[in-house]
Structures are given as C-alpha cells and as structure tokens.
Point group: C2
Chain length 484, copies 2
Amino acid sequence: MIRPLLVLRLLTMPCLWMGLVQLVFGELSFMLFKDNVASNFAMPASITLGVSLVLLIAFKKYQLPSVSTREAMLFASLTWLAVGVLGAIPIVTIAHVTFTDGVFESISALTTTGATVLSGLDEMPRTFLMYRQFLQWMGGLGVVIFVVAILPMLNIGGMRLLKAETPGPIKDEKLSPRVASTTHYLWLVYLTITALCAICYYLAGMSVFDAIGHSFSTVSTGGFSTHDASMGYFHSSLLLWICNVFMLLGATNFALHYRVYLAKSIKLYWRDEEMKAFLMIVFVISCLLAFYLYQKGANATFSGAFTESFFHVISFITSTGFAATDLSAWPAVTAVVLIFVGYIGGCAGSTAGGNKVIRNIISLKSVGLELKRLVHPNGVFAMKFQGRTIGADVRHSVMGFMCLAALTTMVFTVLLMTTGLSFVAALSATAACLNVLGPGFAELGSSFAPLTDTGTWMMSFAMILGRLEYFTVLVLFFPVLWRH
Amino acid sequence: MIRPLLVLRLLTMPCLWMGLVQLVFGELSFMLFKDNVASNFAMPASITLGVSLVLLIAFKKYQLPSVSTREAMLFASLTWLAVGVLGAIPIVTIAHVTFTDGVFESISALTTTGATVLSGLDEMPRTFLMYRQFLQWMGGLGVVIFVVAILPMLNIGGMRLLKAETPGPIKDEKLSPRVASTTHYLWLVYLTITALCAICYYLAGMSVFDAIGHSFSTVSTGGFSTHDASMGYFHSSLLLWICNVFMLLGATNFALHYRVYLAKSIKLYWRDEEMKAFLMIVFVISCLLAFYLYQKGANATFSGAFTESFFHVISFITSTGFAATDLSAWPAVTAVVLIFVGYIGGCAGSTAGGNKVIRNIISLKSVGLELKRLVHPNGVFAMKFQGRTIGADVRHSVMGFMCLAALTTMVFTVLLMTTGLSFVAALSATAACLNVLGPGFAELGSSFAPLTDTGTWMMSFAMILGRLEYFTVLVLFFPVLWRH
Ligand SMILES: [K+]
Ligand SMILES: [K+]
C-alpha cells in the first residue's frame, strides 16, 4: 500500500533543498559574480521554499521511520522528476529555452547524465554555469546515497551482493535511520574527493572558477563543462590525466572508499574484485584503442593517442562523458566502441551509470559456468565473487537487469527513430541517456537541441529510468504487481 | 576426452551425403537442365565420394553408439565447416567467385542463412540455382535434427525444457540411437510440409522450377531465391501469403508438428505456449508496422501495407530473409525494427534462427518475477512455462544465452567495422549472420560481396556460431574447460 501524503511529505525535503540551493545561487549572482541573474534564482527559490515549508508543516504528523520499500521506490522516482522540474526554472528563464528543454537539461544535470540542449556556454552568465555544475554534484551525492543505502536493501538487479560489503549501518533493515547514518559518511568521502579534485585542477592551471566547476562534474561523473569544447578547451594532457584519476574515483564504490579510509590501506582497492576488474578493463580497452588510433593515423604521436584513448575510454566507461577532441574526426568504429563501453559502466555504489562492472562480471561468470556445465554435464559448479558464493537469486536479478538494459535500448532506439532521427543518433542518444553518459553522435553530436519535444521527454524519462536502475521506475508502471 | 578418429569417422557421413547430392546435380545438369555444368558437380562429387568411402572403411571399427556429448559438439561444428567447404566447390567453379566467397555462400546455404555474395542470379545455370536452393533444404533438415535431437540433451541455452515436449525416443539419453529414431519422423514431417509448399506455390502461379526451388528455401527458412528480386519477382500477394504460412510452419517446433499429426488436432498449435506467443508477437508487430507504413505513405493502400508488413515481419522473425520490395525505400526505422525482430527468432526445435521465442518468454518472465519480488520482498515465486515449473538452471542457461547473443553482436560489429564497414552495415551483417537471417543493409544491401576477405571469414564463422546456438561452438575454444 502506498500512502500518497507520506510520499508528498518526503518530497518536501529534496524540494526544500533545491529551494535553498537556488537561493544561494541568487545570492552568489548578486554578491560575487554580479551577472544580473539574481532574480532568476531568487524568485523560484522563494516560491519553492514557501510551498515546501507549508507542506512540511501540514504533513508533519507523517513519521519518516515507517517508510516502506514501495514508498521509497515511488519517492526516489518522483524526487528526480520534481527536483528536475524545479531546477529547470532558472534554466528556462536564463538560457531562453522551452520548458521541455529546460526540464531535460535539469534532469540531465541531476541524474549526472550531462547531455545538454545548450550551446554557446562560454558566453553564459557565470552564476548559471556554476549552477549547472553544482546540480550535477548534488545529483551525484543523491545517487551515491541511493545506490549505497537503498539499492542493496531492495536487491535491485542483484545489488544485495553489496550488502555484505558495505560498512556497519548499511546492514540495518529499517530504511530511514539507515539512510541518515549512511548519508553522513558518504557525504564526507564525496566532499573530500571533490575538494582534492578542485585543488589538483587549480594547481594544474585551471582558474578557480573552472577548477571548482569541473571538480563538481568530474567526481559526480556528470560531464557538464563551462566550455563548449569541454575538457578540450584547456589543451593540457596533465589536466586530462588528473581528470582520469578523479573520474575513476567517482566511479568507485563509495563504500569501498570509506573502507580504504578506515583501514588506511590503499591496497583494498586492488583486493576488491570489482575494482580490480574495472581497472583491468579500462587498461586493456584503452591500450587497444591507442594502438588502433595510432595505426590509423588519427593521432600523430603514440603518446598523444595513448593519452586520448585513456581519457575517452575512462570518460565513457565511468559515464562521465567529457570530450577532449572532436570524436567525429576519429574512425567511426571508435564512437561505436565508446558507446558499447558506456554499457559496461563503473562500479556499483558509485555515481557512474551503465550496467556496472559487477553485473558484467557475474554475467560473464554465468556464461562461463554454462560452458563448463556443457562439458561436464554431471558436475556441480558454484559461482564465486569476492570469495563468497553467489546464489541463484542474485544471478537471476543480474541477468534480468542485463536483458532489461538491452530491451530498453531497442525500444527507445525505435521510438526515437519514429521522431525522425537516424539510427546512429537514436541509438547513441538512448545509450547516452540510459547509461547517464551524455554525449550523442550524428545529428546529436554537438547537442540534444535537434530532438523533437516528444523525443526530449522520452530521453528525460530514459535518464531517470537508467539512473534508478530500471526496476525502481518500471515497478511503478505495473500496478497489477502490487496486489497480493 | 576427444577421440579425433571417431570424429573423423562421423564426419565421413555428411561428406558422403554431400558427394551424393553433387552427383545427383551433375546428373540433373546432364539429363534435365542441359546447362553444361555437369562436370562442375561430377568432378568434386567423385573425389568426395572416393575419399569418404576410403575413410569410412578405414575407420569402420569406431562404433557410433559410444559418441560422447563433447564429441557430438565437435562433430556438429566440424560438419557445417567441412560440408560448407565441399559444397563451395561447384559455386567457385560455376559462379567464378573466390574460395572465400564460395565457402561463405555454401555455409550461408547450409546454415539456412541465405546471405549471398552473388548477383545476376536470373542468368545463372538452372542446375546451379536449384543446387543452392537444395543446400538450404538439406541444411534445414540437418538443423531440425540437431535442434530437436541433440540440443535438448545438451541443454544448450536452456533447451532441456523441450525434452518433456518431444515425442518418445527423444527422452533417451544415448545419443546415436536417439538421433536415428528421431531423424525418421522429422524427415517425414519436413518432406510433407515442403511438398505441400511446392504444390501451393505451383497452383498460385509459379513455374515448377521456381515452386520446388522456393519451397526448399521457404520451409528451411533459408531465404535463397532463384531471382535477384527475391519474392518481389512474382508481384503476387497470394504468393506472399502462401509464403507466410510456410515460413511460419518452418519456424514451428517440428516436435510440435509431429504431435499435431499424431493427435490429428490442429488446436495443439494454439495450446503450445511458445507457438501462441510467437503468433501473437507476429500479429502485433506486423499490425503496428502496417499502420506506421500506411501513415508514412510508404504504401499507397492499407491492404498493401498490411500484406507487406506481415510478409516482412514473418520473413525476418522466422529468419527466412525473403524480401518483396526495396526495403531501403522504406523509412529507416523499419529496417531497424526488422533487424531487432530477427533477434526474437522462431520457435525452438525449428529451422529458424534468432534467440527463439521460448527464450524471450523465459527472459521476460524472469524480469517480471524480479519486479514482483521487488514489490513483495518476502514472497516466493516460481516460474511457470507450459504449466510446468522452470528451475533455476534453465533460467541461468536462457539468460546466459541472451547475454552471449548481445555480447557476440557487439564484438562482431566492432570487428567488422575495423574492416571498413559503416556501423549500420556491420551491425546488420552481424545480426543477419548470427541469427541466420540473411539480408544486410547499407553497403551490404544488395549482396555481401563488398565484404573484405577477413570480413567474409568472420561472417562465415558467425553463421556457424549462431546456427549451433553459440555454446556448441564456443566450448571448443576453451580447452581449459575440458579439464576435470
Ligand atoms: K555523465
Ligand atoms: K535465412
């Protein structure tokens, strides 16, 4: 059973938060950047804050500790939608885009997708640019809390696996106290990494504004930039390698970061089966791509091909979506490889999208086990992950997730094509949104502006669907499942 | 353990058979068609027959009943390769193509793929044209025996499911007696349906030559034609609808055909869960496509759109690959839908390729069960198919198969692109070969001739891989699995 008023009461919290953020950005515009957009932030902020406070007081009798898992799923889906709409208001009024495009841009920021309908970023008000970057950072934090605190409990797509991995409070079965206690340490880890990233960017030559702005979209694996040319604007290999490190850190399980911090041992990263596989996949694919690019003459020097390969593979596998060069000038196969790499994804429990490395490992092990069973029909084989035996339920969830990702990709690609896009544009946009990756190709190579309104709404939905790991959202569309 | 000489002994049988077939076609050329290609068939036939007979006598001490499942898998893979090479010889000498292209064409015929490197078919010797058609029919029969008699025993991709469905002898665990007894009734069913198809084609206006030739490639869901324009050559809606019926019959589980025959009740088709789902999928997708085509003005009349939609959806879902119109003149999305539809495939135990309807059903049910489990975390749910409970092992096999199909598609698409193809051409060729479907798009829209030699060999391998349901072939590439 769903209690709508309780869900509404829960929704006031992220809305209040969005109101506060916009208020701060109004203040920043007025006091610091002096770019005359203060009212674009302050106006919607005051309305949001007012309405949210009234609702909060009206519904204060609804106690949080009693939230059920179904209500949590509805709340998660509605949060991204509601905050997306609220966050869109300054975008609509400052960048002069339609409501449809504004909501798309806002949801793209909050889901850390980083697909944009805007161009001419370099001329936009600085408050507005920083606001976009900050939305990604905030969205990334929300995602981390969702994937570390809520997903393992629901066991969406086999994520109960991670439960044994996560620190103390996570094993608690009650939703709210758990979210509260987990949020505390996740927030600290997230903030620390972001601060380190900003400092490194600054020391490597970015302005304070760009360093902070890009640290927001790097650690959240969001991929928004304050420049149309993205990371290519800076023409610095050093910055690309710094970016590589922090994209990887953002795509690492945040519970693992916390364990590394507690144990004061960096070796734990390598001892984690998912993280180890992740780094090896990145290394192998990047090297193959570097050799291919160099051999095809897409890069003049091997070190250039090496740097660009690592940067783009990491950017796509972590679902960040930064670019450092004009990808359309590369051989067509590289774009396809990068799109496919986006489906691998980062580690579970991180800000990264895609299917997650852990699910790829379990799927491959599952296929391997089938091959083994064929050769030894009477053998009994158990699947191991990180030393523990993986049960049939986890395998079912994981494989179901993979099939759903493939099916959803096909459905959205066909639907987008009926709005008039080419196959490559439709497939790349679908992959970019479902994997919260960002960059499109072909007609959508420079921005998502060419999408029709219908297409834009589809992609806004796809981003929320992918961000919340499909099941969380889909379950809401089958009321028949809710019956006992 | 593999006994190479036993496998060689087994291989003499299909080779002998191929020799006999070529001998008959040499005779046909000399006596009936008088098209001066008799020696092109008689020469390789005599060599093949001679060598095979010598080997057969030399290895007669190897007894067939003792064949192990591993040897059966190796035998199945090598059969398609060996017979493919032998079948290629007349193609190379008559159509004047390279050895690479000849083997591709031959494997394409025998795996019932129907992808071709040839053009100008209408001017080719009639013996040669009928030979190509007959190879498909023979390949189709081989496939039916493989999928009904061998696959369920190996439980490749969850096919143990079908065991309870198949008539008496199939439940036997010994390989050879089972293949022998099963072959008998499969052969009768296959021959009956083909004869009916040829008669219907003839009555609807085809020449005797075309009626027999097209019945071979319809019931085997092969898709070769004696005309470059494929079924479009005849300009007859009636023929398209007859073709629809027999493509569907070819894509039906042949064990089900036999049960229908035994029970003398056509209702059994509808009572079969897989068949029912198959027909409903065909109906729904065809209707949607018909409406879309009519609305987009691709067809002037609705009845024209209706006929063409059903024909092409059935042609692609059954992996036949006949065309009745220039698909490149249709909206781009239709080609994509047809490629995706090819992945659904026909029923298990038929000549059709693709992932098979049964695996789609089980995957969807698996995803549905996951959604249900999310809503009712403490519920216990069992999966039912055709009234029986489906165990975890079948689900693992099925989902493993689906993941493997997706992964293989990505790998071959990327590899083909490195040979210089566009994304659409590479993806469509991969889908056409893995699903033993046939038609390519973009550069490969009229034939597979533009492929490089490397690309052609890749696709020859892909056809065998897809035809033998991935696992049978892949298992041979991991010797490490063979250790105890
Ligand atoms: K992103
Ligand atoms: K075919």
